[in-house]
């Protein structure tokens, strides 16, 4: 006699026990500490914080450990926790001009007030595997900039003085920003909502979309006006106080792309901006974000829509890796019922074709 499959519950429990075992791996190897992840895999932590949209290094490290190093899974864990947190309010706009800069470069000017500051970068390293690192060699003590140094003026502010660069949008025009985690997204989007979506968008996806604009699919003549990484102060307005209350500092990466623009019916010839801002040290992501932001401003600037990167619905609807991974992977779920329906249909259609063929043969005979 046939007995319907049961015991799914036990199977799940067993699978999860096995997952925990494989996550731990060989017990003779020391257990990985969250402090080790935070300190030594800090760029992975940064990515989980920015795409998980949750600035908490310790939780991000836990997510990475729990996900066995699968960063999209870790991002998902961070998001699923973050979504349950109550919303207390919105901070004041961050002033990146007052950033405590650790890295700041501009591809537009050879030198500028404050200078080019390389900071901790992979740029100009030779990509040769380093056996010394495998052996745990202690690094030399680096020279660092005076942490209380004067703020560095942004390149965009220099350019803005001459009117060559379009002004940044005025925060006063939209005192309460959109909030894509609280309001349903709808197209067309305002730029604030779009930037939020891009800020937590998948790094790989944005990288490819940004790259496509460089290869002629909506070419935007970009220059890396400035990339700066460092700590900024967060402040929140409290109704009882006359001044904004400081909340603490976070590390961010900001990229301002400066794009040559010939002018159109809607805007005069000038440099336009593409903007990227990401938690932690995430230079590639912030640059890609800035390229895509600029491409998505095509309608606003009166440019022809010719390429995927300019297509807001296409880009934004497919940029979120938590959504994308869920839906792609849901194909693993059972689809017995739908498949059964299709099975019956295909059988019926095959039978009809066979019947027709037989009739033809009989007629021929």
């Amino acid at each position: 006699m046939y007995v319907a499959v049961k015991g799914g519950e036990t199977a799940i429990d067993n699978a999860h026990k096995l997952l925990a075992d494989r996550r731990r791996g060989n017990r003779d190897v020391a257990d990985l500490g969250l402090d080790q992840i935070m300190e030594q895999l800090s760029l992975a932590v940064d990515r989980v914080m920015s795409e998980g949209a949750l600035y908490d290094r310790e939780l991000a490290a836990l997510a990475i450990k729990q996900a066995r190093g699968d960063l999209i899974e870790a991002i998902f864990l961070a998001r699923a926790y973050r979504t349950t947190l109550p919303r207390f309010g919105y901070t004041q706009p961050v002033d990146t001009g007052r950033m405590q800069v650790e890295r700041r470069i501009s591809a537009c000017f050879k030198d500028l007030p404050g200078g080019q500051l390389l900071g901790p970068t992979f740029d100009y390293t030779h990509r040769l595997l380093d056996p010394a690192l495998a052996g745990g060699a202690a690094p030399e003590t680096p020279e660092v900039r005076d942490p209380d140094g004067a703020p560095m003026m942004r390149v965009s502010d220099f350019l803005g003085q001459e009117g060559l660069l379009e002004p940044a949008p005025d925060a006063a025009d939209k005192p309460v920003p959109d909030d894509i985690a609280r309001n349903p997204m709808s197209y067309p989007m305002d730029r604030d909502a779009r930037l939020q979506a891009l800020a937590r968008g998948d790094e790989g996806f944005l990288l490819s979309m940004g790259y496509s604009t460089q290869r002629g699919y909506a070419r935007s003549h970009p220059f890396a006006g400035e990339i700066r990484i460092g700590e900024v102060e967060l402040e929140i307005a409290v109704p009882e106080l006359d001044f904004a209350a400081p909340l603490g500092r976070i590390q961010v990466t900001e990229c301002q792309m400066v794009n040559q623009f010939q002018g159109s019916a809607k805007a005069p010839p000038q440099f336009t901006r593409g903007y990227g801002l990401v938690f932690g040290q995430a230079e590639r992501k912030s640059m890609a974000m800035a390229l895509v932001d600029r491409a998505l401003r095509a309608t606003e600037l009166g440019e022809d829509l010719t390429a995927p990167a300019q297509d807001e619905e296409f880009v934004i609807a497919h940029s979120d890796n938590v959504q994308a991974t869920g839906f792609v992977e849901h194909l693993k779920l059972p689809h017995y019922v739908d498949f059964q329906s299709e099975l019956n249909l295909v059988r019926r259609m095959r039978a009809e074709v066979e019947a027709r063929t037989e009739t033809h043969q009989e007629a021929a005979e």
Binding site: S264, A265, K266, G302
Partner: protein
Amino acid sequence: MSMQDNDPPLMRVSNLTHMYGDRIGCRDVSFDLYPGEVLAVVGESGSGKTTLLNCVSGRQHCTAGTISYRMRDGRLQDLNALSEAERRFLMRTDWGFVHQNPADGLRMNVSAGANVGERLMAVGQRHYGRIRETADDWLGRVEISHDRIDDRPGTFSGGMRQRLQIARNLVTGPRLVFMDEPTGGLDVSVQARLLDLLRGLVDDLGLSAIVVTHDLAVARLLSQRMMVMKDGQVIETGLTDRVLDDPQAPYTQLLVSSILQV
């Protein structure tokens, strides 16, 4: 079908202007279109004729001016005052739009029969057999063989696609059809056959039409009246034979003389 002097106009366009930023699309265009009349709009590319067509057919908003249309109940309706729903309804029942590139006006991934039947279904017809019968009848009228009804337009030649697009537009019995270079991109022999067909349909159905073309031969064959446009403005207007045989404006003279006389 001849137009009568005492017929009220079907469409009345006054001082229509469309600007692309500082650039002029078309400026201060006025004309009346009478029932059963075919009006040709000619000019070089960039003269504003397509902008004009897009504005009067409701596909593009105009910057200034008014467009009125005589609805089936006889009332003259300002098209700007129509809601989006009313405008779209008008577009899929009482109007047709024939694109230069048939792919812009067809659904390339469904059969010829569905392409013709779509408008019928859009206005609520729900009998498969009757929809198919009507589609079949229309394919015949545009000289497409009946056994092609279940084929997709991708398997059709350029001329057949254009005829299919025309059938798809005419199936709901529209009173006004807009055409944007309907013979553009076709071989000369195919063009002649299509023009013949169009002229026959326009006569049989008593259609009004606005045809945009850069080809004076198309204007000569199809239209009773024509407008010559340059730099966004109308520089000459009149009966087609008169404008072509005795052009008044220097630009029209240049345009007419540039055609090889056969």
